[in-house]
Amino acid sequence: MAIIVVEVMLKPEILDPQGVAVGAALPRLGFTFAKSVRQGKRFEIEIDGQPTEQQMQEIEKAAATLLANPVIETYVVTVQA
């Protein structure tokens, strides 16, 4: 069994009000280390066995059509053993 991880982030130029709100809440709790915060999404897709090259291509396609909106987001696909 392997887990395919797709991490989706808003592009740097797209305003992320949720990240800004989290970033503003941190110092209120005494955490003063954060210069900025951006919030994203993480998908964990379980498959049987190790992914084949064809499956990886399909996951790329799924990430670009459904999991992420390439107009405003970027994504990274990795495999967890």
Partner: protein
């Protein structure tokens, strides 16, 4: 002339859209997201709401609903198509319109009467307005901030495809105060505020929204 209004699971404003289409003199037909055909309608409205619970991204799952395949093909062939609020988000996710709608800048869900200026009255949905006409219709959404890259913004502005703009303070951080845009041909329009909630003064802040629905009647008769 028949105008179809699509109901997805989670759609809220289909009833008002059907009512608005009937009030404008067209015959409103209810369509279901799982329908495989468009029942012979001449135009389609994607109404507001939270289709599929807004899961993943607003409009991202609705875009792949069975009925959307037919809607996309018909709209690419010139059929008038209006996306209101969640419907606008679906149009962007379906790449029928450029850009995307993101979380309101201040994170608040906004629900208020909003002044707009009609910038383009040459689309299938705005010909009954005067260019530059100011209208007041409800705005109610959490993710209404229109975003796109600089090149797309320049194209939209250069080709006069900004259909409506917010007047006064920017309510949600939309680029260039954009409230609605159209495709190149002008048959597809996406609008964040709700004209279907403002077709008579008894229930809305004005009757300013009705002209969206009378405009399309004119476009179809032409």
């Amino acid at each position: 002339m028949k105008v179809g209004v699509i109901t997805f699971p989670g759609t809220l404003d289909d009833r008002d859209a059907l009512r608005a289409a009937n009030a404008a003199g067209t015959t409103a037909i209810s369509l279901w997201h799982n329908d495989a055909d468009l029942k012979g309608v001449d135009a389609v409205i994607l109404p507001g709401g939270f289709s599929y619970g807004d899961y993943l991204r607003c409009g991202a799952i609705s875009r792949f609903a069975p009925v959307m395949e037919k809607v996309i093909a018909a709209a690419n062939g010139g059929m008038p198509l209006l996306g209101i609020c969640n419907g606008f988000q679906v149009l962007c996710e379906a790449h029928l319109l450029p850009g995307a709608l993101t979380r309101n800048k201040d994170l608040h869900f906004l629900c208020r009467d909003q002044k707009l200026v009609i910038e383009n009255n040459a689309t299938a949905w705005t010909s009954d307005y005067a260019k530059g006409q100011e209208i007041v219709i409800p705005l109610k959404n959490g993710e209404g901030s229109f975003q796109c890259d600089d090149k797309t913004l320049a194209t939209l502005e250069g080709e006069g495809r900004v259909v409506a703009r917010y007047v006064g303070e920017n309510p949600n951080g939309s680029r260039n105060l954009i409230a609605g845009i159209s495709n190149e041909r002008g048959n597809i329009v996406g609008l964040m505020p709700h004209p279907e909630h403002a077709i008579e003064t008894l229930t809305g802040p004005s009757a300013d929204g009705l002209a969206f629905f009378t405009s399309v009647l004119k476009a179809m008769v032409k």
